[in-house]
């Protein structure tokens, strides 16, 4: 009777190696190095995403304040919500681009959901009837997130596709529109739940779908 098959031994046998393949790959790697592309650190990319999302939101607030579209009293009255949105944006952006931020990404999702619930619950009864249809809010929130979305998608391509990473980046981007909604819209909680949060979801879904459809520049974690 023959001895049993040594599966471990068989598995550890080296497959036949093509030395020419290593040479060709090294030549391709040297070609890539010769391009002298700048090293992109993930922290720098995270700061760029924070600046694109939170920074754009702050610029919008300043412009609205400057042109009188929003009063200082309104800004102060909603400061706690605005700070919550900026914090959510920063945490989601950092978590999305961090190589080891799996816990932070989960926390970012929970924080974004909490933030969304607070935005709905904190909305009071409007004192005037709306002059614009609800979809205008949805469309403008999505539109204001386009630039941060491009930044997020470009940054995400530096790593292997991870659905949670792409979703959290989308949530970071979506805070820009939500921020705008807190400044420019005075409608009731139903409108916030139905139109503002819909826009946030659309942006998050767009980040997920676009990232999945693009070939990553690297397979690094």
């Amino acid at each position: 009777m023959s001895p049993p098959l040594d599966l471990d031994g068989l598995l550890s046998q080296e497959p036949p190696r093509d030395g020419g393949a290593a040479e060709r790959v090294l030549a391709a790697a040297r070609g890539e190095l010769a391009l002298r592309r700048p090293v992109r650190h993930w922290r720098t990319q995270a700061v760029w995403l924070m600046a694109a999302s939170g920074g754009l939101a702050l610029v919008v607030a300043l412009v609205m304040l400057a042109v009188g579209a929003v009063s200082g009293a309104t800004l102060l009255g909603r400061a706690h919500l605005l700070v919550l949105l900026l914090g959510t944006s920063a945490i989601c952006a950092w978590g999305a681009l961090s190589p080891r931020g799996r816990g932070l990404r989960r926390f970012g999702v929970v924080l974004a959901m909490t933030c969304a619930a607070v935005l709905v619950l904190a909305r009071g009864t409007p004192h005037s009837t709306p002059t614009l249809p609800g979809w205008v809010c949805t469309a403008s929130h999505v539109a204001v997130g386009l630039v941060p979305l491009v930044v997020a998608v470009l940054a995400l391509r530096a790593a292997v596709f991870d659905p949670l990473r792409a979703l959290v980046a989308g949530l970071a981007v979506g805070t820009t529109g939500a921020f705008l909604g807190e400044l420019a819209c005075a409608q009731d909680w139903r409108h916030v739940a139905g139109h503002h949060l819909l826009a946030w979801s659309i942006v998050a879904a767009a980040s997920l779908v676009i990232s999945k459809s693009l070939k990553p520049r690297s397979y690094a974690p």
Partner: protein
């Protein structure tokens, strides 16, 4: 003075020393190539993936965190590249199977050791990619189940189960070889 560690070389590479990359390539390209050949079987595809892996190291050197062990980081990149290729291949195979309904070739008796190794590589391809990855990483690369779990975002128990099921399936697939010896 001893030779620099992988981690020291990677940090030097991050700081712009291209010779450090060449040293890392010389040290690890063979191992990565072996892993990829086991994962995808096809030599041309394994070469493509070897290239994707080392181009990823170059392009994503800004994502390498000082203090991270280099070899698991490198093998994670290779595993991600293989997984992406296998996912793509599954789509192609699903399309091809609509035209050709015949199943995968069964394992044939060996013709000496090289034949046996070939049969093993064929049998590995019949495992689910998750199981194949777990078997190769645990049995060949010596990864712990905790490390495999961290790679795929699953529990260590789930990683152990994947490896165990893959290994048992491999034994089943290679049973005809044993009978023919």
């Amino acid at each position: 003075m001893g030779s620099p560690t992988d981690e020291e070389l990677m940090e030097r590479f991050r700081d712009g020393a291209h010779d450090a990359f060449e040293a890392l390539f010389a040290r690890h390209s063979g191992r990565v190539q072996g892993f990829l050949t086991r994962m995808v079987r096809s030599a041309p595809l394994a070469e493509d993936l070897l290239q994707s892996t080392f181009l990823s190291v170059i392009r994503a050197r800004g994502r390498y965190e000082p203090g991270t062990r280099f070899l698991p980081w490198l093998m994670t990149i290779a595993a991600n590249a293989a997984r992406d290729a296998l996912r793509h291949q599954q789509h192609v195979d699903a399309y091809a199977s609509q035209e050709d309904a015949s199943g995968p070739a069964s394992v044939q008796p060996p013709e000496g050791d090289p034949g046996m190794r070939r049969q093993l590589l064929d049998a590995l391809q019949q495992l689910h990619p998750d199981q194949r990855e777990a078997v190769v990483l645990s049995k060949v690369e010596g990864w712990s189940f905790e490390e495999i779990a961290a790679l795929r975002g699953i529990t260590a128990g789930a990683a152990r189960l994947r490896a165990h099921r893959g290994y048992e399936r491999l034994r089943e697939l290679l049973a005809p070889l044993e009978a023919a010896r």
